[in-house]
Symmetry: C2
Subunit: 341 residues, 2 copies
Amino acid sequence: MRVLDGRKTAILRAVIEDHIQTADPVGSETLAHRLRLGVSPATIRNEMAALEEMGYLSQPHTSAGRVPTDRGYRLYVDAVLMEARLTPQERARVTRPVPVAEGPGRMAEAAARTLASVTEYASVVAPPRTDHLLFKHVHFIPFGSTRVMAVIVTNAGVTEGKMLDLGEGLDPDDLDRLSRMVSRRLEGHRLDEITDALLAEVVHEAAWQQRAVRELAAWLHRYLPMVQRRVFIDGAANILKQPEFQDIRTAQPVLLALQQEEIFSDLLGGSSGRAVWITIGTENPHEVLHACSVVAATYGPHDMPVGALAILGPTRMKYGKVIAMVRYLAHSLSQALGDAV
Amino acid sequence: MRVLDGRKTAILRAVIEDHIQTADPVGSETLAHRLRLGVSPATIRNEMAALEEMGYLSQPHTSAGRVPTDRGYRLYVDAVLMEARLTPQERARVTRPVPVAEGPGRMAEAAARTLASVTEYASVVAPPRTDHLLFKHVHFIPFGSTRVMAVIVTNAGVTEGKMLDLGEGLDPDDLDRLSRMVSRRLEGHRLDEITDALLAEVVHEAAWQQRAVRELAAWLHRYLPMVQRRVFIDGAANILKQPEFQDIRTAQPVLLALQQEEIFSDLLGGSSGRAVWITIGTENPHEVLHACSVVAATYGPHDMPVGALAILGPTRMKYGKVIAMVRYLAHSLSQALGDAV
DNA sequence: GCTTAGCACTCTTTGGCGGTGAGTGCTAAC
DNA sequence: GTTAGCACTCACCGCCAAAGAGTGCTAAGC
């Protein structure tokens, strides 16, 4: 009774797959038809009672069918994780990613849009972290009388420019020399390896333009962590298409949460080292998302993920397709990054 | 009976302001109390019947109070437009705008966030158009063996970089010379005045690097219109806080529309030359937004608006505060732009 | 000992029904 | 032109009964 034998597994799976399709509780009669095990609804009822006792199913009320619990989904997802496949048609709907050279934000934004429109759930994409990128060039471009615009280029494209106020006049030729000098000293370093010591050296060498270099250094330290925390969210309103969010009181908290990027930068941060990871309902540390599941994947080189993407949908989610889709897009982005570097 | 005399105006105004606060139909008794005109509910009823006949009010059903029609709101808004004021506290909640030098997109995004969080409606901000900006510099930065990253700096900050493939090897010094040459030739021109003829001259002069310049020219022509059409939307889920969107069937179409930037770039495009303009309910060309009103403003120099921002809320909107807020933020952005240029 | 037919039981859903209350329009008097 | 009085309309609410879905239990069968 207490063991999860083959038949129980089959029944659990059938309940889950039926429920994912219909969004309704599943009854014993339906299952008897669907499963063709040659057993009667009564037997299925016994098995379902056992599955409920084990915590994999639950009943919304006495006279309803069964619904999977988060624990039931967990068992199912762990089993189905490896089988997830896309049809060629589905793959085709994921267009080529925007190259990272157009800007990491652009790439992430486009990926989020694709993911949301293909899956009809909400999507979250964290752009590639910039701290491990290699510094290539800095250009100081005169701007007004005392200000310069600093543009940093890395091996994966250009960062946004930063306006620095030098508080004194400056000569375009001096700026060019400064640009070349700083670039030469920092080129090839990972951004997060540009330490204070290294910057101090540069500042020392550029004694004649200390202020610009100091400002630049300060900016680097403040700017990089900030960019990392950005995430792009798209398709939030898609959750309103789901029957479980037809009641505004369940939908509203989730939609409001989807406006808070911080929640999702947290979520995508805790990758736990796995390529694809799934958070089901109450497993989520954020209480507002207890009615949702998150299917997430990291992308980047195998040994060092640099970004992450995720789908957020109801716990009653088409896990198979979503897992495959997330995995496939993560793979595409990884390749696009590989090409750029 | 058919003339809109002072008392009718006062009653219409009272109905609208009460309804904006409570979201419920307004009855004659409530008004008699509120208005202190020294007239009885019966008189007010007569007036309201007249206002209904004139098309300014309507009744949801026989035994309910009156509700303003779009036409009623229009009259009210045109009257209230000039009186709209913010308290110092409300002004204080609008933090200083992000300077455009951080990137026009950044500025617009931050403005959208502010607007949404202060008003509790949805906000839309179109970043400053870039086509009238003045070209300052272009820098070609070597990137791999045959590619360069082109970074354009304008008088209002840096644009995103663009990767150009030259198909042949190149020398850093040559690139520097090319950067200087092209910059010298284009500096001070408005981006939309960089015509094919002008570019042809440059290409001619840079005969030894034609391909890079051609690619750059092609990019300028494709890139600029695209950037213009971007808008940033924030606070979409805020409309779920409004009583009229408690039914998911009314909320869903609007929320889905709020995911489509195109709709709003259209909307902000049709400024009709006024500094602040308002679209009420069915006045909106987009049918999905017939339950909503849009309060929009342009920003930029007086004679040439370069961007726009808007609030989208239910037709039952706090027009007074929203108009003042939109006008004030537009003013702040205009100033911020003025400082940068 | 597992399976299953039969059946009573539970609980949601739906639709009908009368009471209540808010607000109106009309009429007649001021 | 204003207003008191009053009948009327209609949404809303709570109640109740019928229907339907699905269950758990029991007892019989293999």
